[in-house]
């Protein structure tokens, strides 16, 4: 009996022991079993085929497809699936095999910085480029490949980007590491209004700030349950960037009044403060949306306008506003104000932007195969243009009787050809394609507002005619800014600058007093350094 018991006890102990062993084993197998599958996905495709690269150099399509890893942000839903039909076609025609890592744009910066810091940089990697301190620092540490010679070798790539932009991408030695993703610098944020409501209330189309204000007052006084003026899908003062031009402000650095050889930030320009505090005044009077600067969801203004609950909107995407508004208010009509005239006769226009929004680097470890990569890029801008730009006929576009390629709307495409499948495989589009009126017209046709197209184009030209620039070269960075800039901004300015629209008691004087503190804490030094470092202080021109 006793013996039996101890035997049982021993058995139990043996069982316990084996349980622990199993647990430990599972821990370790879990850790090691994926060694082979995971290591090949990122950053390591470069080493393995360094040898056969030399033979593959001369032959075009017959060589082994170029394998590389590629990280980029995506703006849409992250529903990309590897091995789709479009991808197969691109791989075949371009003779590549791309391992894409997509990261939703919200999370891109934090994620890619961790990946880079973890020493796992992919072969081709998106980032902000030399305009951003983090990326500039990495570039200076030697993480990326110098590309000057490839640009000379492959003219299609060089020509895709305006020479002035390449200059900005180069460092002090003239070395270029970064291929910018281009945007067209003229992005007018139209001031759109409900023409039907204006007509009903007998208000003529405003041509100046003063007239706009009185129109808003009339709308408010009319007793209609409608917000006089709201804003598009961004932060308030940026949504009104083209309204600001009528105050003479370009919402960016501009020559100082006292010394034309000096440039100063917007916070030091009376014009810019006039604009900001005018908007505050409008809000105080109930003429500008009470949710501006309050609602954490930036799309509230467009939502309101679409539902027919706002009369004027600063910015906003016409191509989506119009059809949606028609669903709510069938009789609605939208028109756009011509650039306004300011209170002192300033002529409004549009604030243009630096024509780059991120871009990509090539990993320095990818050097051996870089030539083949640039060959692929070059192909995508020459023989591969049609596939890159329009996709596959019948699946992504149709050809109309006039021979124009008409894109098929996203929701009518098969899964493999939807935008979310194409976007991850994009690299560079030339500046020459950025302002494509033909494509714009087709978009208007697609949205069912064909008749609005000529009007829209005319307005675009009116706004573009008077361009306001940011005089600061985005590639110039002040050491003090990098060192303490964000902190002194947070300490002295963040609250004041961020609460103009929410703290109605905040005055221009209080704002200036806070800014003075910021200047004293180091802000002035930043401004001086930038003036010191930026030799050319003339108005930039990105449009030509």
């Amino acid at each position: 009996m006793d013996q039996q018991k101890t035997k049982k006890k021993q058995l139990m102990k043996a069982g316990l022991l084996s349980l622990v062993v199993i647990m430990l084993l599972s821990l370790f197998t879990g850790c090691t079993s994926n060694n082979n599958t995971s290591s090949s996905t990122e950053g390591s495709t470069n080493g393995e085929a360094a040898g056969d690269n030399e033979t593959g150099d001369t032959s075009g399509d017959s060589s082994e497809p170029l394998k590389f890893s590629y990280s980029r942000p995506t703006w849409g839903p992250a529903t990309y699936t590897k091995g789709g039909a479009y991808e197969k076609e691109l791989f075949k025609q371009g003779n590549v095999d791309i391992d894409v890592r997509i990261i939703p744009v919200v999370d891109y910066d934090a994620t890619i910085k961790t990946t880079a810091a973890g020493g796992n940089m992919p072969d081709v990697i998106w980032g902000w480029g030399p305009v951003d301190a983090f990326w500039k620092d990495l570039q200076d540490q030697g993480a990326f490949l110098k590309i000057n010679e490839y640009l000379d070798q492959y003219p299609a790539i060089k020509d895709a980007v305006p020479a002035g932009i390449w200059d900005k991408m180069a460092d002090d030695k003239g070395d270029i590491y970064f291929i910018p993703n281009l945007i067209y610098p003229v992005v007018p944020f139209f001031i759109n209004y409900r023409a039907d409501i204006f007509e009903e209330l007998g208000i003529a189309e405003p041509t100046s700030i003063a007239e706009l204000q009185s129109a808003l007052e009339k709308i408010k006084a009319s007793g209609k349950d409608i917000v006089p003026m709201t804003m598009g899908n961004t932060v308030p003062f940026w949504a009104g960037k083209d309204l600001a031009t009528a105050f003479g402000s370009g919402s960016g650095w501009a020559p100082s009044k006292d010394d034309p050889n000096k440039i100063v930030p917007p916070e030091m320009q009376e014009e810019h403060l006039n604009y900001k505090f005018w908007l505050q005044d409008m809000k105080k009077k109930g003429l500008f949306d009470e949710e501006a600067g309050v609602n954490p969801d930036a799309s509230f203004g467009e939502t309101k306008f679409k539902a027919g609950r706002a009369a004027v909107i600063l910015g906003g995407n016409l191509q989506s506003l119009y059809p949606e508004l028609k669903k709510s208010v069938p009789t609605a009509d939208i028109k756009t104000l011509s650039p306004l005239t300011g209170l002192n006769g300033e002529k409004g226009g549009t604030r243009v932007v630096f024509p780059q929004d991120r871009g990509f680097y090539v990993n320095v470890k990818f050097k051996d195969k870089a030539d083949q990569f640039f060959k692929f890029l070059n192909w995508s801008l020459t023989d591969g243009t049609e596939l890159r730009r329009y996709g596959i006929e019948g699946k992504m576009f149709t050809v109309n009787p006039e021979g124009k390629k008409v894109p098929i709307p996203d929701d009518e495409r098969e899964n493999d050809y939807k935008g979310a499948q194409i976007e991850p495989l994009k690299f560079i589009d030339p500046m020459s394609e950025k302002l494509d009126w033909e494509a714009q017209e087709l978009n208007f046709i697609g949205a069912g507002i064909q008749d609005k197209f000529e009007y829209y184009k005319g307005m675009f030209e009116k706004y573009a005619a008077n361009a306001y620039n940011d005089y600061k070269d985005p590639t110039v960075t002040s050491p003090t800014q990098a060192e303490i800039g964000p902190q002194i901004w947070e300490d002295y300015m963040a609250k004041v600058d961020g609460s103009i629209l929410t703290d109605m008691n905040l005055t221009k004087d209080a704002y200036k007093a806070a800014y003075q503190k910021y200047l004293d804490a180091g802000g002035q030094k930043i401004i001086d350094e930038i003036n010191e470092l930026q030799k050319n202080k003339s108005e930039p021109n990105y449009v030509d």
Partner: protein, 315 residues
Amino acid sequence: MVEQTAHATQPVSELKFSTRRSLDANPWWAQSLIYLILIGAGLITLLPMVNVWAISFSEAHEIYKNPMMLWPKSFTLESYKYIFNTQVLLKAFGITVFVTLVGTFLNLLFTATGAYGLSKTHIPGHRFLLWIVIIPMLFGAGLIPMYILLKNIGLLNSIWVMIIPSLVAPFNLILMRNFFWSIPESLEESARIDGASDMRVLWSIILPLSKPVIATVGLFYAVGHWNDFFSGLFFISDNSKWPLQMVLRSIIIDFNMLNMGTQNTNTLNDSSRLIVQPENIKAATIIFAIVPILLVYPFLQKYFVKGIMLGSVKG
């Protein structure tokens, strides 16, 4: 034997009262008040869900007019069609289910053994071992060394990265350990006198008594796995291995929302490129992603039954 010890633990001295009224239930007014408060609490928490549910079945332009609907307007299944046509979502769903099931099982295995061991406060070095568990609750090394570690042990880009690095949550371990700790030592001792081994004690005395805490901790782990997008985001580069929450996140979060108060005007150029998903698709994705995990709790509630009798356990 065991019954006796169970009785012995009762704080008998506290139970001597002068009144002999035997009241099984609360007075009617107290009971009604409790029901009223509970109904109120239920309504308040139910409404947001009903709102999301209603939006998911409505057409987009109706939502602009009145986002606070509690019943679908212009009923449509469009958004659910979108979801079930999106392969990635379905695949991500499968991955999340796998990670939740396997992960929770392994979590409980490791946590329960560790917690039981640490509940034995008499072993030498107990305090030291306990601190080994407490410190990770307070200090973390940060993302970068973790990333490097996972790279070195080959866990990157494997779905096990959502399971193994989060095998034991210190909080859950301590929770469970305190439950084990509060089980009267006398119960175990009497079993040992009857000749039961450590293993036997854990298996047939401690675990049956701890069903509620195991269910709770299991729920915590399961929900943790279900809601985890973080490991997918940082440690899995192949999006075909992403968990559901990661895909969900890319659908429901507008870039602009996170942009408030930044100085970088470059970032602001993004607004023109963002593809904002319609509200009904966002809502449907939320419903799709949370309904399965919502159903887990009612199922577990049977382990929360009141009144497990310590005395009924046989040694």
